[in-house]
Every structure is written in C-alpha cells, then in structure tokens.
Symmetry: C2
Subunit: 405 residues, 2 copies
C-alpha cells in the first residue's frame, strides 16, 4: 500500500475549469479512462514535457499545439500511451484533437492531447471518439476527483491536493492532480500532472513558475530511474479569482509561486509514496557539494542503487551499500574521509568508515520506520540537493513482470 497516503483530500473547484470523464474501454471495460478538462476563455496555460528522445505522439502534438492563452481543452486517456507508434500514432493524436474541437467548437490547436499506459499499442481512436460526448455532457467544476481516478494506470490511489490562500485581498485556489507509479524519473515533469488556479498569470510568467516548481518537485523524484516517454505537466490560470500577476515583482506573487511549488511537491511525493511496490518513502539530502549538479548526481546514484533499495525494503541499515553508491557516483576527487552519513538523526558513517558511536540497534530503529531521511554530507562545498524515492520490493518485480498480462 502507498506509504503515508491516507485517501484523497477534498479537491476544491477552480473557477473557470471543468472536468468530464467517460469510459472508452481502452485497455479493459469497467472504468472511466478518458478525462477532458475544459478551460474558460482568457485563461493562460503553461506546460513542461519529457526529455525522452522517444517522446510519445501526444507529447509531440501537445508541444506543436502549444500550451497558450488559446488552449481550450486537455484530452487525457489512460490504458494506452500512444508511444512508439510512429506516424499512425501521430495521426491518431491529431485526430483526437480534431474530434474534441468539432464537439467543443474550437480550433484543433486549442486542444492538447495526453496519453498514459502501455507503450507500442495502436491508440483505439474510435473508442475514444465515441466516449467524448459523455465526457462533454458531464463537464463540472466538481470533476477533479473523477479526473484523478480516470488518469490512473498502475497507481493504487488517486493523487490530488488543493491549496487556498488570500492574495491581495482575494481568495485564490490552486488544485492539482497527478498520476504515476512506475517509469518515474521525470526529466521535465512527471507522468501527467494537471494544475489549475483561479489567479490570473501572464503566459510567460506562468511558464517560468511551472518550470521552477517542476524542478523542485517532479524533477526531484525517482522510483526506478526510467524517464517516461509521456511525462507532461500542465498549469492553467483562469484569472477568475480577480487577482492577476503580470510580473514576478507583483505584490503577492512570491507567495503564489511558493504555493504552486508546494502543490507540485505534494503531488510529486504522492507519486513516490505510491511508487510501484513501495514500502518506504525515502528522502535523500545531499549537502556540502561543490554545486547542485553534483549533489543531484550523488542523490540519484543512491536513489537508483538496487542494492540500497533492497536494503531499505529489508529495513537493513546496510550503510556500506550507501557509501559504495556515493563512491561510484563519479565525483571528481571525492575525499571519502570527509563524507558523513546520517540515517535519520543517527550518524552512521564518518571518515570513510562506521562512526565510532554508531550501534546497529540505533540504525535499525530508523530503518524500521516507513519514512526515512538519508543525509549525505560531502564536505567539499555549500551546495545541496534533495531527491525523494522508494525501496525495491518483491511487488515491484511482480507489478512489472505481469504488466502486460
């Protein structure tokens, strides 16, 4: 079961955004697998996408159409990634936008398509097309939870969060949903996240806000090191709360910006907590590096080590595996005698070896927790980075060995 996720919190409506869902039976019948977000005119929209060279057809089309003020609809399906599908896949993504545009009376370019699910199968376009009227008929400001459920694949729980704050005397709402559990090592955004706010934000500023928030959230998590072909994250700002930001120096913007990052971090952490087979939620703090890049390099070397991950699954304070991962991270001239390693509050290694006052009992007490922080101090600078990850369990293998069966 997901680590420390206790059900979906109340998702507050965002004025100017409506969601509708429908059952297209893309992978199997019996669930809603299409979600449609309708965006009010005069909103702005920003998006970030995967850097995987094999990006999926819908990612190519969404990039081509561009998240912009003109964007009217987001069309999302689960059960099929429409990735590795070549020219026919691209055509199917374009045609799906056209189908929404006809029903919604807008240009096809005002529709951004997103897909998630198995790679390499043709998208069942006709079934999606037939499901669209149902999704449109059901459009509602209350539709966030239904959308969060419709976009799930191997996710055990739906993921979403709302945040309200008062900015310049107006109540502003930010609501976001996300899906993702495996193939998680976002390099731009995560495996599908959708956020909206009723604040108004100028297009360029909105894009900058989203990029920075994604870097501090979705781009700092990993489950298995595999960057998805379909990663995408969209932030919509409708402006219907009566407060608008044109520049980052505007009063209240810093607070708004921080709130967007907090929502993104909550969603990103929810993806890790629901990581495939996860039994632990692990925070890796690397400090004392020469720059952020090398701190991230160390954090990811530890986060991706199957030996570290299986030790966490076993609640085994096998710190030698953590040191070995730090040592192979490829840092130039790393002086191991200056490296210090903490598990929670327990200093476990110092000066290249086990800390003199360390006891196995103290290490094990930390390891038995479901949420664990590793702190690695490199002792060669003042930069730092934080990455969130999971352990590696039998269930990870089971989920991924049986995925297509």
């Amino acid at each position: 079961m997901p680590v420390g996720l206790s059900g979906l919190p109340e998702l507050l409506p965002v004025s100017g955004v409506r969601w509708g869902v429908a059952e297209a039976a893309i992978k199997r019948p019996g669930r809603n697998d299409v979600a449609l977000m309708e965006i009010a005119p005069d909103s702005s929209a920003a998006a970030v996408y995967t850097r995987n060279a094999f990006c999926a057809a819908p990612v190519s089309v969404a990039k081509r159409h561009g998240a912009a003020q003109a964007t009217r609809y987001l069309l999302i399906n689960s059960g099929n990634a429409n990735a590795g599908t070549g020219a026919p896949g691209l055509q199917a993504a374009l045609d799906s936008c056209r189908a929404v545009a006809e029903l919604g009376h807008c240009q096809p370019e005002a529709v951004l398509p997103f897909s998630t699910g198995v790679i390499g199968e043709p998208l069942p376009l006709e079934r999606i097309r037939r499901a669209l009227p149902q999704a449109l008929a059901g459009l509602s400001e209350q539709g966030w939870e239904a959308a969060a459920r419709a976009i799930m694949t191997t996710d055990i729980v739906p993921k979403g969060i709302s945040k309200q704050l008062v900015l310049n005397g107006k109540r502003v709402t930010i609501t976001g949903i996300a899906k993702g559990s495996g193939m998680i090592r976002p390099d731009m955004a995560t495996m599908l996240a959708y956020l909206a706010t009723d604040a108004g934000v100028a297009q360029a500023l909105l894009q900058q806000t989203l990029r920075q928030a994604a870097d501090r959230s979705f781009n700092s998590i990993t489950v298995d090191g595999d960057t998805s072909t379909n990663d995408a994250c969209v932030l919509v700002a409708t402006g219907q709360a009566g407060v608008t930001f044109a520049s980052e120096t505007d009063a209240g913007f810093a607070e708004f910006d921080a709130a967007v990052t907090q929502v993104c971090q909550a969603l990103a952490q929810a993806i890790v907590r629901d990581g495939e087979g996860a039994t632990k939620f692990i925070t890796i703090d690397v400090q004392g590096g020469r720059d952020t890049a090398e701190c991230r390099q160390v954090a990811y070397a530890v986060a991706h080590s199957p030996l570290v991950k299986t030790a966490f699954f076993a609640s085994d304070p096998n710190w030698g595996r953590i040191l070995a991962a730090v040592g192979r991270a490829g840092l130039d001239g790393l002086d191991v005698d200056k490296v210090t390693l903490h598990l929670g509050d327990v200093c476990i290694a110092r000066g290249g070896g086990r800390a003199a006052d360390y006891t196995e009992a103290a290490g094990q007490a930390v390891m038995r927790e479901a949420e664990i922080t590793i702190t690695i101090a490199l002792g060669r600078g003042s930069a730092e980075a934080r990455v969130w990850t999971t352990d590696l369990s039998y269930d990870y293998v089971k989920i991924n060995a049986e995925y297509r069966t």
Copy 2:
C-alpha cells in the same frame, strides 16, 4: 540457477603458481574462506582495480604494494570486504600482508591482499592469521578449483576456465578464476578475478594486456549497476613455459593477447550468468553510434533499466521499455526515426515504432529463450559496443533483502 553454466571445466595447473586454502570462519564456519596464491620468483604480475572512490582497505594496500615482478603472494578472503572500515581496516590489511610475509619469508610489499563480502564490518584478522599455516601447508599447483570455491560469496557456482595454445613451439597455459554475482558493474575489473599463465611477459606489456582484456570483458558487464568497492583483477605470468614476450610485436603475442581476452570474457560472462537471481543471459549490441562511448551509454541505459529487466524476467517482448531506455540515455540529437531494434533475429521496431512485419508471437519465441541478444542500431555512425547483463527477478530482491540476516 545460473544461466547456461554447466559446472566448472577442468582447471589446468600453471607452472610457477600454487594455491592453498583454509577455513578461517570469517562469516560462518564450515567452508574454506581464505585462499593464498604463491607466485614463483621471476614472474611478472599486473592488476586493475575498482574506480569506486570508496575503495576498500585491501585495494588501497594492494595498489600501494603494487603488482610487480617482486610480488610473491596474493591473499584473498571471502565473507568480509574490509571496506568502509577506515584506518583500522587499513591497518588490518597491512597486518595480514605482514603475517603472510613472515611465514613466507618475503617482504610485506610482496603480498597483495584482497577481500570480498559484507561491507563495514571489522576484518577478523586474528582468525585469518591462524588459518594461514594451513593454507601454506596445502599449497599445490592443483589448487585452482579449491581457490575458486574459497573466494565465493553469493555466487551459486565457482567460476574458472583454462585455455591452452601452442606459441612459438611451446605449449602455453592460461588459467583464470573469478567470483562475483551482485554489486556488479565493474569499472576497471570485476569483483575479484585471478589469472595466471606460464608464458613470460614483460611487466609493462602484461599490464597493458590485462587492461585491454578487462575493458573488453569485466568492464562490459553489469548485473545491478553498482560498482563494487573491492573490484580487482590480477594476471600473473611465470615464464615457465619457456616462451617470453617483451613487446607486442613479438611473434605469437597477438595470439596470446587474444587468448587472455577470451579467458577474461568467459569469466566475465560466467559472473553475469550467475548474477544474483538471474534467469536470463542478455547480450546488448549497440551499433551505428558516433563513438564507442555513446554506444556504451545506450547499452548501459538499457541494461540498467529495471523495467527492461523485469520484462525479460517475465519473457515479455515489451520493446516499448527498451525504446524508452534508449530515448533517455541522453544522446544528443538522437533521431528516433533512424533507430532499429532487433530481439534475436526478429526486427521488432523501426522508424520510431513497431516494425510492420512484427508479430507478438515472433517476439515471444525469442523471449522464451534463456539467452537473448538485443541489437540496437542507432543509424548515426559506425561505432559499436557490447554489454552483457541479466534480468531482474524476485530472487534478486530476496537475495539482497536477506543478505545480512
């Protein structure tokens, strides 16, 4: 069970090299866990070691002593890696050399120490010291198999091979043993391999021969992407066959050099075949790259992908995961439309998507085999690289979750 390993072949003695083993009960009693190689005077020796910044104490000492003409003994223990043990660990490694030197009447610098096993526990030096007389008393040219067994940790089977060839009218023997199963992504050599030949080879030439052979064998395998703290590989040349090489242009040297590489490749592949939890032996051929480095980058991205590895475990031709791994390997300007992917002889993807003539049945027929070759053609140059790896199974998690219990 190891993939395609059918018992240890006959290991031929190498004149000038004797092995003795003993039980020091380092991790638990009931098996020989110390091996001692005695090298005849006037031999030469070469070694390559891990690049992990957290290299183990014995690696530091072996590098300091230096594999050279003066090298008389290799002392190897399993059950304890003497890594992450700080200054006391370094002293223990030095003291173990001193103990051998006293009994063997040589300088401590003529002894190279090696350890393999759990990281971070103090080396039980006294128990090793007490076991040395037994190892010395049992020294024998027939001792290769006993040594191959004594150095095992999570290995299921001992690993070794012999090769004989006639060079310049003399019969030359090369025999090698290795151990390794997890924490396998050698970056210099593997988790302990020892080779000897009765050919004579000048010191510098021997080092060059070993480095090139290691690059084409131990440095081209991965089980879990975790470079060990203790990797080491030693090649000894006793000269007792009556043929000596001083330069790479000497008659017969090219043949000798190729034979050393073949022995190293057989040992490296045996480590993969006995990789922790392995049920498949996978060869990844990357062709058509701009240079070898980018071909290796792609090969390792695929070889380390937990999603690819679990798909192999499930015998699932989930080629989308392979393409996704190629796409995230970080190649600048990769044109996915030029990438072609074969599973065995079956063309599975072409032009960024599934090959038109591909059938799931054909893909599954290949995947059901225990030995599978993936060929990835990048279509942007003429460089190539080959890497050998395993799948990721329930047993991998089991072995590593229970390692210290």
